[in-house]
Symmetry: none
Subunit: 412 residues, 2 copies
Amino acid sequence: MEGPKAILLIGDGLGDRPVAELGGKTPLEAAVKPNMDKLAAQGECGIMDPIAPGVRAGSDTSHLALLGYDPYQCYTGRGPFEAAGIGMDVQRGDVAFRCNFTTVDENLVVIDRRAGRITEGTDQLAAAVNGMQIEDVVCLFKESVAHRGALVLRGAGLGAAITDTDPHTAGERVHKSEPLDPGDEASAKTARIVNAFVQRSYEILKDHPVNKTRESQGLAPANIILPRGAGLAPHLTPLDERCNLKSACVAETGLIKGVAKYVGMDIIDVPEATGGLDSDLIAMAKAIMAALDTHNFVLCNVKGADVAGHDSQAKAKMDLIQRMDKMVGYLMEHVDNQTFIVLTADHSTPVAVKDHSGDPVPIVFWGDGVRTDACGAFDERSVTHGGVVRIRGIDVMNIITQLMAVQEKFGA
Amino acid sequence: MEGPKAILLIGDGLGDRPVAELGGKTPLEAAVKPNMDKLAAQGECGIMDPIAPGVRAGSDTSHLALLGYDPYQCYTGRGPFEAAGIGMDVQRGDVAFRCNFTTVDENLVVIDRRAGRITEGTDQLAAAVNGMQIEDVVCLFKESVAHRGALVLRGAGLGAAITDTDPHTAGERVHKSEPLDPGDEASAKTARIVNAFVQRSYEILKDHPVNKTRESQGLAPANIILPRGAGLAPHLTPLDERCNLKSACVAETGLIKGVAKYVGMDIIDVPEATGGLDSDLIAMAKAIMAALDTHNFVLCNVKGADVAGHDSQAKAKMDLIQRMDKMVGYLMEHVDNQTFIVLTADHSTPVAVKDHSGDPVPIVFWGDGVRTDACGAFDERSVTHGGVVRIRGIDVMNIITQLMAVQEKFGA
């Protein structure tokens, strides 16, 4: 595409805390990453709170904020974005869930929450429950990878403030969903529908041929569907309309693709992107460059650092950063002089925490016209002396679109 | 006046980006400005986002924010502040517009949007249409400089979300104003009134003696009035009441005077202030000092840097800054030791952009008791290491009034 362009490159869970194993450095500080450091030296740096200082962001809420949507306004649960991420049509007012195919006994006590990590036949099982009508609500169901799937409830007056049916542990009976507030009639209706859906899924799936075959092979039957993470689908003005962009997303996980798809971005699939530490990041860089032929904004999420953080693997996180650095080098080498590169993270996943923390993350804006500063390294502590000082995730798209000169002026 | 006082000196569009022509410096960085730098060395510095990081502010929305009024709450369009700026009485609920006297043919096709840049007789033309009654709405009209004027509609149930009648280009027929949302009855009413006003202005003005004379001289008749920039007049608590001040404004443009007047500030006219690069800034400094005899807060807007930015004149912007520096020197020399000087900008107008950008601007608070920091220069990048760190426009009056010790405590 002609004119100014921007790449927003997000290292999932990239931020960290000082790690003893790395001599008191963070994985970013310990890594050899000449390209990221060059980006910092030539760009404008700072720290960024994905949601607000100290708030532990999810990848979904953080990406919403980074794209300029206030998650406190639009996010009630993960469901709608998961469902969108596997290609389901999610409409405003729907209530959507992540689901597991699960194995239960005849008393609905959970035997295996993941149905023996089933990999085949879930499309046939999904087809058997999809389209179910309960009261005036249509239940749309689609399988995802392995034992996963998503449920979309479509009908009038649904709420999302309900408890889960999934007991989250084997040996317990399937829970009955309840509204969090007994006076909340919309959520009470949703809970009623979900309970009926779960019951009926058992009745339909327990004797399904796929499960009969599995049982004959000594495999756990996927004989019930347990929804969780209810979320009310919000109305979000499409990103391209809100920001005057033609945007695309290169991502490895369904959750990020779901958020991107939900806001109307084109989704670019990269077969070599595995979502793990072995992902081919140069293939992703090439996909970004190809996307820029037909788009002027590409968000790319690289998942690996988050995986290493959750697994508490400091060295693996450092290695992933070093591979991501080569990806940054590839981009710097191939972009034209009207392209901005913004490198940041969606949250910190410190190896000591093994989960998302509320620590801020580094950010750098690189490209023609930025107010370069004295920062020479891209890491959590070096960037605190940069010109950006400290911003929030919700600010990022405004900064990008003003650099690209596509933002409307507010006032005269 | 006795007691603590403050001067808020705003360089319109003062902020910039690194400019190749200036060796990679911004005009502020390249300028020789010993007084501004002394202010920085003796004061407390930081960067400021007029609205929010990355948001491209107008001068009107920025000045509202700098005076402590949230433009997202109170600003729907430029009209009310323009009208107030030329001395019209604007009341809460009015819908106000900027207008052009225009030349159209008998089919209402625009011949000259500015009616030959008419300079005389617009007061008589204005008087001929002023006070028109359409439905239950009174149409108040007043001429401004040259071909400009303002229209205030006063009546029940008016909205401001309408399209313009001005086609913004010659050769096109005058547009019919429409509500942006067909279901918005208040705006539909305004559109109906505006369309009738435009039609009637043509009927009244086409045979007006002023125009007959112009036509006999071969000049374009000012035979129609085209309103644009509709804004619903908000209720704003007067600044003096909200902040315990006695305030005045020294400004060069109608838009800034309009904002100031709208919030009840006294307007000080300085005949030597032209709004251009040739403006007499020492005359403005003297006007500020004179105003401090009877006021304890003076906002002063110097327009020149914005003009140079829009015109992409890096050297002219630098020169203007150097003249503004002498103005700062004059103020530092003449204020008493109870007076604070706050120097900042309302937005950046980078010479490379030729329009307002969303880049933050430098700010310095100078006066007795401020927490001085290590910043020794007043420019976009030096101040990022200052004690103020990064604030927003809406914070500025709170900081000023607490330094002045006129702010009420919030809580016990």
